[in-house]
Symmetry: C2
Subunit: 432 residues, 2 copies
């Protein structure tokens, strides 16, 4: 366990230092639950942490001195973050370069931190964001500014290392498992004279965790013929069509869960759009239409396809209670670790047992988290490459357990929006 403690003497002084909190990268159904955990825990420790300033649109808010004073938000408003999807303070796709390559940005961060008496940096994101957080955590050593940077794990992709899972994943997994079961019931009803194959495309650029969740739709009680296409398994059209054909012949229908990241042996994605996001990743989408064409043309089977896209990661209405609890706990732990003087770490979910499911909060060294992508273990995918193993199921099942419905008004979920009151600027404008 990494437990780098920085000097905390300064914080014993009269006025407690403020905290900076920001959301980064793709948002999730529960990232605001982590925000809720951070802010509520900070509020309980007012003698040690002053105000929580949230970056408007992530780290960009810090660089441009666009800070939201969360102390202006009501207790009820902050509480409601727990059941509100998306990033309530705005997120961004913006990766800091290395200190050597862009000292200007780091100097600016220190300038803003100093101006607003910020001693804590809570960054809520995935792998790329962990890298940013890690770089900020080095500011104490490299640039002499005492900051404690703590990363709050979040990503639907579930690809952060060390932690058992990433908050955000459990809810998208539940959404995909539930939706796959529901649509499979639908196609089964239609299969006699109409649609025989249903295809759903899910997120997951490199790691097949979300696709694997599609496998949870089928249980001993409720078996469903499902073919999963993982990014970890090279796509082979002939073998795939043979598998679908066999499934339809046996069961009358089947469901295909295809990851957006599925690719051929040569590395080419099934559906490359040519667009790239600001991190330089190819923006995917459209694998389902490619699969649909193959099933139609190769097997002559009528099929329907869906692309869940943002619907899957925003679906707070069907969030996993386990996931919500973990997201909150990670935010809370981040603050508690900070109060104990830690820097350059990330709270983690440590699984103790599967049956009954037990877990506790752990801690990981950020240098071991940043830029490391956790793939599905080989023994989580069945030998034929199209399903999940018992081991995988044992891992996934606890993560989707429990429902945690938001409140409703007139048939619609009541999601909160922040007032977003800006902290008065003290510095000159900074051009990004």
């Amino acid at each position: 366990m990494a437990t780098k403690k920085t000097a905390t003497k300064k914080k014993a002084a009269a006025k407690p230092m403020n905290a900076f909190y920001a959301q980064s990268g793709g948002v999730t159904a529960v990232i605001n639950a982590s925000a809720c955990g951070v802010i509520e825990t900070a509020r309980k420790n007012k003698t040690k942490i002053g105000k929580v300033y949230a970056g408007r649109n992530g780290i960009i808010g810090a660089l441009t001195e666009d800070l939201i004073d969360t102390s202006k938000e009501t207790t009820a408003g902050i509480k409601a973050l727990r059941h509100t999807p998306s990033g309530a303070f705005g997120s961004c796709r913006f990766k800091l370069k290395s200190l050597e390559a862009n000292a200007r940005e780091y100097e600016r961060l220190i300038e803003v931190f100093k101006a607003h008496n910020i001693g804590y940096f809570f960054y809520n994101g995935g792998g790329d964001s962990a890298d940013t957080c890690f770089k900020v955590s080095q500011l104490s050593e490299k640039m002499g500014y005492p900051i404690q940077a703590i990363h709050v794990p979040k990503t639907v992709d579930n690809d952060l290392p060390i932690t058992d899972n990433c908050p955000g994943f459990g809810s998208v997994a539940k959404y995909i498992a539930v939706s796959t079961r529901e649509a499979s019931f639908d196609v089964a009803s239609m299969s006699k004279t109409s649609t025989k194959v249903f295809i759903v495309e899910v997120m997951g650029r490199h790691a097949g965790w979300i696709a694997a969740a599609g496998g949870l739709a089928s249980t001993e009680d409720t078996p469903i013929p499902i073919v999963i296409l993982f990014p970890e398994v090279e796509f082979d059209e002939k073998k795939f069509l043979a598998k679908v054909d066999a499934m339809v012949k046996k069961h009358g229908y089947c469901t295909v869960v295809v990851s957006e990241g599925v690719h051929y042996k040569n590395g080419k994605f099934l559906a490359e759009s040519g667009l790239k996001d600001n991190f330089g990743h190819a923006q995917l989408g459209g694998a389902a239409t490619v699969i649909s064409g193959m099933v139609q043309n190769g097997l002559g089977l009528k099929n329907h396809w869906a692309v869940a896209d943002y619907l899957q990661r925003a679906a707070r209405h069907i969030a996993s209670k386990t996931d919500v609890d973990m997201a909150y706990a990670m935010g809370k732990a981040a603050v508690n670790f900070a109060l104990k003087g830690h820097n350059s770490i990330m709270p983690t979910v440590d699984r103790i047992s599967n049956k009954p499911f037990k877990w506790k909060v752990g801690m990981a060294d950020l240098s071991k988290v940043a830029n490391v992508e956790k793939m599905m273990p080989k023994n989580f995918i069945t030998k034929d490459g199209y399903g999940i193993t018992k081991k995988c199921r044992e891992y996934l099942e606890p993560l989707i357990k429990g429902e945690d419905y938001p409140p409703y008004k007139n048939g619609m979920p009541k999601y909160v929006r922040m007032k977003g009151v800006a902290v008065k600027k003290k510095l000159k404008k900074f051009d990004l």
Copy 2:
């Protein structure tokens, strides 16, 4: 009100006649709730209705004498239909030709009805199915076989006439409204540096009811910039892009809800796949990708797109309680109308008032239902063609009210499957 009563003397005889029930066309999140209403009500009237035989895969089950004996299903199993999406007995896309064009099929139906002592015909479907049901209802007059045919309304498209709405629609409307709100929160979070437009494609071949439901995502409490593309409004690329551009300039992001049935002035759908279903309708899908390309190429705005497809109509996990109640009530009313001697009718939802929302069961003459498609009234669409009016909102809002969650086990909804015990065949094989 149509109240064609057929001679019911025969039913006073010793052994009550059996009922035939079948599901037809695209299934919904609540069609099984109607099945539940039919079967539970029939079970309460055992002295008047014998057994309920369900057609395996709709009318095909009747033609091929493939009947499911629902008396073999447990009370709990039938009760669980109320919270199970899809068509538990199997549906089909199969339209009977006219009596003149295909007497053979009608003769076969009578043969099967006679062999199994069937005097009631409950057909659960949309417009095409209402036509089939209407044809069957004429068998008494035209072919001398005493059958009471009653149509149970169902369609996510909400395009049946006379009834205030169609069970199945309220739940898909709720799904689209909730999903649109959630994804809009997501894109709002991302819009500073990344995605600025989110596009979701929804069902609705000719009528924009489902697309209209996307407008419910935005309320006074929670305003959201939404552009709706209705099939009722001819698509104009230039005007559409100007609208999106203005929305993004004003709000920083926007959400586009596009109906699969959106078409150009010349009638061509935005995304025609060239495939046709068994009813001869063009099979659509892919309008979202077309819109995505326009927004990217025409405005240079990064966007994400989703196609909900079956997910929307199978989403029992977020069904509208109002819709579930109505679906059940339609099934129950069908049986009660039959017991009163009616033929060739369809129970309807009659709206009494909006605030408070009140409705009662009514009745429509099938001849006035079959093959009539109810479009959105003009005054439901805003003048610019991209939004819903107050009138539309007042109509839609009550239909998505209330949640009716299914039970869960290990994080997954517990949906029931029928045993599906076949009734012993008495007749020779029939080739479709």
